[in-house]
Structures are given as structure tokens and as C-alpha cells.
């Protein structure tokens, strides 16, 4: 087994005293698409936001390619691509301008910006809208623009929060193909989704999150075995069984960990 590209250990996070994560641990490896599924409020988005540096955990360790991201919270982001759930975009820019802007921020060489941008717009069927403001695009098209922005710098780690919401079936197919290609080329893709059939078909492994904890991780066979649903059990059956079993734990939150030092 190679070293994990993403390693989360004992993550704790609460909002105004309400626990969101309660000791969540997770590992994702190169060349795999790891699905993160769980009920509403399970802590999926919080986990992803901690991973991409938009939130800091109260306690726990986050490692990307072996580097503790709480020690150096910036450098690792060069390898990271992120697409948030319901992304807010600068609506006043055109897709071409926006992708160029993100490319600059992501340190893509200036002479590659135009080619990379037009390639992505063409592949994602956005070329006809390339020079209209994002404000005039449909919800699905905006999602595609956000996806393009997440992969413009060809990241080796891709973090996607509900990436398929609002995208038409053809667009979903396109995105899933793209993700599979990236994973095949060695990238690590961590994708949070509510679409269990998508997770079942797209992801090599799935982590089921409930009440801020990872209650099970593995391929469908391993999850079936853990949930004791039998060989015919679908991911939905497994999901329902495991999330119902995972009652809300009553445990004491560890002390808050400093941003630059180990807890």
C-alpha cells in the first residue's frame, strides 16, 4: 500500500458548542476516488473545509502527502484543487476571464493560461458561453465552471463537495469520466456526495460519516460485510444500516489545538 495522500486523524470541530466532528479519521490514497457519504449534518463539508484550509480543527492532525498542514497551512495547497458545495463565483467575470484569474492565482504559467482555459471550456461544453458573464449562465454551467477552476492547474489532490448537484446527466457523465481519468493518472480524489448510486459506481472506496465520525470505510464488499447486509445489499442498504447503528456519541471534546503547534 502506498503512503496516504490525505491523512486525517482524530479531527474534532464544534460550532458554538455544537459538535460537528467528533474524532473523525480518514485516509485517501493516490490513484483512488474516495467517496464521502453521510446524512445531512454528519460533518462532510466541515471535514473538506478543514482539509482545504478554510476551517481549522479544534483538535486533530491533517496530513497531505505526509506534511502536517497545520504546521505549514499554505504550501500544500499548490497541489490541491477544490470545488465547494454551491460555489459562489465572481458573476461579473466571463468563464474565460475567471479561469484565467484562477489560473494566475494557482501559479499556472502565463503562456499556458489561454490554452488551458480554452481546452477546459471546450471539453466541458462551455465554449459557446466563454465570453458571457457568469451571471448569465445556468446553475449547471456554473457548476462546470467551478469544476474547471478546481482542475485548471492539474492538481494531484482534488477535493469536491457535492460536485454533481445541478448538472445535467450528460454533464455528470463528463465530470465522472474526467475524475476517473485523473485518478487513473495518479491523482487522489475526495468527493462528498449524497448520490449513493454515483458513489457506488464512481468510487473505489467509500467512507460513511455519521455524527462527526467515520463509521466505516472500504469498498462495497467490505462495507457489506461490516453492515451484514449480505452480498445483494446495495450501498443504500449499507448506508442506512451503518448510519442508524451509529448513535450520537456523548464524549468530551479535547482541548483546542493551536494553529502552529501540535496539540
Amino acid at each position: 500500500m502506498p503512503l496516504p495522500a490525505i491523512e486525517l486523524q482524530q479531527l474534532w470541530k464544534s460550532y458554538d458548542g455544537q459538535p460537528a466532528l467528533q474524532g473523525l479519521s480518514l485516509e485517501a490514497y493516490p490513484s483512488e476516488i474516495l467517496g464521502l457519504i453521510g446524512p445531512n449534518g454528519a460533518g462532510k463539508t466541515t471535514t473538506l473545509k478543514i482539509l482545504v484550509g478554510l476551517l481549522r480543527p479544534d483538535y486533530g492532525i491533517v496530513r497531505v502527502r505526509g506534511h502536517d498542514v497545520l504546521v505549514d497551512p499554505v504550501a500544500y495547497k499548490a497541489e490541491l484543487g477544490y470545488m465547494p458545495e454551491a460555489p459562489t463565483l465572481p458573476e461579473y467575470l466571463t468563464p474565460t476571464e475567471f479561469l484565467g484569474y484562477v489560473g494566475r492565482i494557482r501559479n499556472l504559467p502565463k503562456d499556458r493560461l489561454a490554452t488551458r482555459t480554452s481546452d477546459l471550456l471546450r471539453v466541458l461544453d462551455l465554449a459557446p458561453k466563454a465570453d458571457e458573464t457568469i451571471a448569465s449562465l445556468s446553475k449547471g454551467m456554473k457548476a462546470k465552471v467551478a469544476f474547471a477552476a478546481a482542475i485548471i492547474h492539474e492538481p494531484s489532490i482534488l477535493v469536491l463537495d457535492e460536485p454533481l448537484i445541478g448538472i445535467d446527466p450528460a454533464g455528470q457523465h463528463l465530470l465522472k469520466e474526467r475524475l476517473a481519468t485523473m485518478a487513473h493518472a495518479g491523482a487522489t480524489v475526495l468527493v462528498s456526495t449524497h448520490q449513493l448510486d454515483t458513489a457506488e459506481r464512481l468510487c473505489r472506496r467509500v467512507a460513511i460519516v455519521s455524527h462527526g465520525r467515520n463509521v466505516a470505510t472500504g469498498d462495497l464488499a467490505a462495507l457489506r460485510a461490516q453492515a451484514q447486509t449480505g452480498e445483494e445489499g446495495s450501498l443504500e442498504d449499507v448506508f442506512l444500516r451503518l448510519t442508524q447503528e451509529a448513535a450520537a456519541p456523548v464524549v468530551e471534546t479535547p482541548r483546542r489545538r493551536g494553529w502552529f503547534r501540535r496539540g
Binding site: 482545504v52 495547497k77 465547494p84 465572481p90 461579473y92 467575470l93 494566475r104 492565482i105 501559479n107 465570453d131
Partner: protein
């Protein structure tokens, strides 16, 4: 009547309730009301002084202009919504057997009361200022204020009538007529900027002219001119009759939710929708100015990004409008411009930066995830924000100074110039610095929102005063040549901007979304 009152109180509670709830809600509301009292009084004194010294025709022109402004706001409102309605009213009240007139009366009362609640005290203080300045007892402000209320009611009714007509006759050019009325009501205002302009309020039988003539009679203690009394009655009676006849019309299908947030609140959802709509509509024209991400360094990239944003999201319209109001109020064209007035206007223009800063905090801040999830820090982003604000401020100030030069051949002394030029830099600096720290929530009126607005302006004033002090100090130690003083000023401005950029970069390093 019972249901009308219920509808009225629902609207009132919805609108003012959030501002008055919370720990500091009433205080913030009170602060906002009190903040505008001095400017209300100053406005009244200015009007009163002008009216006192002017001949009757010019005095009517001066008094009619703000009334025409009020009417134009009403007409503008009629082009858009015209009737205030919250989404919940559509779901629960307008699906009940509420008669249109019941709803319209409640809306009229609500609009009048909320206008008085928000600006009534300032208007009353302005009326006192006018009365006292023209040598009348303060009690003369009462009939003046009463006239204003009647006029406001007339404007609100006009607005409703136009909305009903628009819904009742969807194929008739009601919007076109409304636009024509809007232009007609504003055209005579040009005579304030240029006395030679041939169309004046006093020459036209407009409602604003009639009410202005009555107001002038109150201020001068003369009898009310019968013709103007009849004209005012004809307008008020005519619109009331039209409203009565039309208010039976079913208009629910032609209304849309417009009241999405209470006083001082920002409903992000609907405001973003408006912003998005505006950006998409304007995009056909505004995308002709391209954003070139492949050019320039990081700070240049971000500066251009912010300028493109302001250009495309409709903020530029606000900047232009505010600049025109500020410049016209300086008396350009009437011979009233002087270095002190120029300095006051330059400071007024820093309010533009305060509002742009609030706009960023409400609408653009959430796009910071793009920068924060990259390996670049947000330093360049905030440096770009500061520079874009400073450039906009300098652009407006430059246009103002150029206009002064063209119309008055007024050349400012270099210390006044220092204040005018340094203010936008100071305002931009304070705005960018504050925005690295303050996060506005779309909740009830907050001190943070007011703080951004006023601190940015204060930062502009202090920056300007510092520049002025440097020039005066240079003069005090014997630097008399204008070129030498200009060199000193340039050096200060560069050092000031560099200090601002350095500080903003340091603050941005610890920015949290």
C-alpha cells in the same frame, strides 16, 4: 378596516422589528437617525439662506428641486416595484380574500410611516433650520413639515396609481409615460447648475412647483398664492380620485416580492439575485472592457479584477450618480464654488469608498474562497482592493477638479489639492484594512456596517489632513516654490500609499473567511 390595520402592522413589524431587536439594535437605529440630524439641519439652513437672499422665482426653483427629487424617486419606484410586499404576504395574505384596496391602503400607510420613521426627524430638523434662517419663528416649521407630509403622500399615491395602471393595462405604454414624467420632473433641476437654462420650475405648473410656492409663502410669512393652492389641490385631488377609482383593480398577479429584509438588514439572497440580474443585463455592454488575467503582476491583477467588478456589477452607476450629486451640490455653475466647498465635496466623495467597501463586505467577500484555497496568500488581493478604491476616488476627484477648472478657472492652492488627492488614498487604505478584519452578517442593522461606512470616510479625511499638514509644514520651513511643495506632496503621497500597502499586506496575512 380591521384587516387593513393588521396588514399595516405586519409590514411595520417586519420592517422595523429586526432593527429594534437584539442587544444593540435600538442603539444602532437611534445612532443612524441621529447621525443625519446635523446634515438635515445644515441642509435646511443652506436652503433657508438661499431662499432668504433669492428673488421669488429663484427661491421657488431652489425649493422645488428637492421636491422634484422626491417625486422622481416615487416615479422610479413605480417603474420597479411600486408596492411593498414580502414573500410571506403573497403566501398567506394575498391568497386570502383581502380586497385590493385594503392592501393598497395598508401599503400606503406603511410607506408613509416607514419614510417618516427613517427620515422624518431629519426632515423636521431641516424644516426648523429653514424657518429660523429665513427669520421666521421655529413654529413655522410645523406647516412646512405638514406640507412635506401631504406632498409625500401625493408622491406615494402617484406611484401606486402608476403601478395599478401598469398591471391593469399591460399593453399600454405606462412605463414609457412614467419615464417621461420622471424626466419632465427632473429637467428643470438643470437650471440650478446653469442659471441660463431655459426651463425652470417656476415657469412650469408641476406639483413640485405648486408645493414649493406654498412653502415659500410659509417661509416669507405671506398669504398663500391662490393659483398655487388650486394647482396643489388639483394634483392631490386628481391623484386621490384616480387612486380611488383604480384601487379596486385586482393587481396581485402583477406584484412581486420586494420587501425581503427589514430596516438596516440585507437579505443576501434577494440582493445577490438583483446583483446577478444586473450583471447579466449589463454584461452585453460591460464585457467589452476585458479582464486580462495573463497580464501584469499579482497586485496589478487584483487591482484590475476589482475595477472590472465595480464596472460590471452596476456599482459604477452608483459611483457616477453619487459623484454627480456631490459635484452638483458644490454649486458648480452657480458661482458658489470655493476652496472650502471644494474640500467639503472631496470629503463627501470619500463616502463613495465607504459604500463600495460595504458592498464588498456584503457581496464579494464570499468569493475569497478562491484565493484562500490557493497557495498564494490574500495579500495581493487586498492590496488590489486598496489600489482600486484609491483609483476610483482619485478618478472622481480628478473629474471634479477638472470641472471646476473648466467652469470657474478655479485653481486650488496646493494645500487644498493635497487634501483632495490624499483623501482617496487614505479612504482606500482604511477600507482595505478594515475589510481584512470586519465580517458583516446579513442580520439586523449593525455597528460594523456603520463603522465601515464612517471609518472609511474618516480615514480619507485624516489622510487628507496629514497631506495638508505636510505641505503647510514645508511652507513653514521656507519651501515656498510651488514646484518644491508639489515634490514634497508627491513624496508624501508615495510614502503614504506604500505604508498603506505594507499595512494591508500584514493584516491580510491573518485574514479568515
Amino acid at each position: 378596516m380591521g384587516r387593513t390595520f393588521t396588514l399595516f402592522t405586519y409590514k411595520l413589524r417586519f420592517f422595523f422589528g429586526p432593527a429594534l431587536r437584539g442587544r444593540f439594535g435600538p442603539l444602532a437605529y437611534l445612532a443612524l437617525i441621529l447621525i443625519f440630524l446635523p446634515s438635515g439641519f445644515a441642509f435646511g439652513v443652506t436652503l433657508g439662506t438661499t431662499v432668504r437672499d433669492a428673488d421669488p422665482t429663484a427661491a421657488i426653483d431652489v425649493l422645488a428641486a428637492p421636491l422634484a427629487g422626491l417625486l422622481s424617486f416615487g416615479l422610479l419606484y413605480a417603474l420597479g416595484a411600486g408596492v411593498t410586499a414580502h414573500a410571506s404576504e403573497f403566501d398567506f395574505f394575498l391568497t386570502a380574500d383581502v380586497r385590493p384596496r385594503e392592501y393598497l391602503v395598508a401599503d400606503l400607510l406603511f410607506q408613509l410611516v416607514s419614510l417618516l420613521g427613517a427620515g422624518g426627524l431629519s426632515a423636521a430638523v431641516a424644516a426648523v433650520g429653514m424657518a429660523v434662517t429665513t427669520g421666521r419663528p421655529a413654529v413655522a416649521a410645523l406647516p412646512l413639515f405638514a406640507l412635506l407630509i401631504v406632498y409625500t403622500f401625493f408622491v406615494l399615491m402617484t406611484s401606486q396609481v402608476l403601478v395599478i395602471l401598469r398591471v391593469r393595462f399591460p399593453k399600454r405604454p405606462v412605463r414609457l409615460v412614467t419615464t417621461a414624467l420622471l424626466i419632465l420632473s427632473l429637467i428643470p433641476s438643470a437650471s440650478l447648475a446653469d442659471p441660463a437654462f431655459p426651463i425652470r420650475f417656476a415657469d412650469l405648473p408641476l406639483p413640485s412647483t405648486a408645493f414649493a410656492a406654498l412653502g415659500l409663502a410659509v417661509l416669507r410669512g405671506t398669504t398663500w398664492p391662490i393659483l398655487d393652492v388650486l394647482l396643489a389641490l388639483a394634483y392631490a385631488g386628481g391623484i386621490a380620485a384616480a387612486w380611488y377609482a383604480l384601487s379596486k383593480t385586482y393587481i396581485v398577479h402583477g406584484l412581486r416580492p420586494t420587501m425581503s429584509a427589514g430596516f438596516g438588514q440585507v437579505d443576501m439572497g434577494s440582493r445577490m439575485e438583483i446583483q446577478r440580474h444586473m450583471t447579466a443585463r449589463l454584461g452585453v455592454v460591460t464585457t467589452r472592457v476585458r479582464f486580462r488575467p495573463e497580464r501584469g503582476g499579482a497586485t496589478s491583477l487584483m487591482t484590475r479584477l476589482h475595477l472590472v467588478r465595480i464596472w460590471r456589477d452596476g456599482s459604477i452607476l452608483f459611483v457616477a450618480l453619487f459623484a454627480i450629486i456631490g459635484i452638483l451640490s458644490s454649486g458648480v455653475g452657480r458661482g458658489g464654488a470655493n476652496p472650502i466647498g471644494v474640500v467639503a465635496v472631496s470629503q463627501l466623495l470619500t463616502f463613495i469608498l465607504g459604500i463600495l467597501a460595504m458592498n464588498w463586505a456584503f457581496y464579494e467577500r464570499e468569493n475569497m474562497w478562491i484565493v484562500l484555497t490557493s497557495a498564494q496568500g490574500p495579500g495581493a488581493y487586498f492590496r488590489g482592493l486598496m489600489l482600486s478604491f484609491a483609483l476610483i476616488g482619485l478618478g472622481v476627484t480628478g473629474a471634479f477638479l477638472a470641472l471646476l477648472e473648466a467652469t470657474h478657472s478655479l485653481r486650488l492652492p496646493i494645500d487644498s489639492l493635497a487634501l483632495s488627492i490624499a483623501s482617496p488614498i487614505g479612504g482606500g487604505f482604511v477600507a482595505a484594512a478594515l475589510l481584512t478584519r470586519i465580517k458583516l452578517k446579513p442580520s439586523a442593522l449593525s455597528f460594523a456596517a456603520l463603522g465601515i461606512f464612517f471609518l472609511v470616510s474618516l480615514g480619507g479625511i485624516l489622510g487628507g489632513l496629514a497631506a495638508q499638514a505636510v505641505v503647510l509644514a514645508a511652507r513653514a520651513i521656507g519651501v515656498f516654490a510651488v514646484a518644491a511643495q508639489a515634490t514634497v506632496l508627491l513624496g508624501f503621497l508615495l510614502a503614504f500609499a506604500a505604508f498603506g500597502l505594507w499595512t494591508v499586506t500584514r493584516l491580510a496575512a491573518t485574514f479568515r473567511l
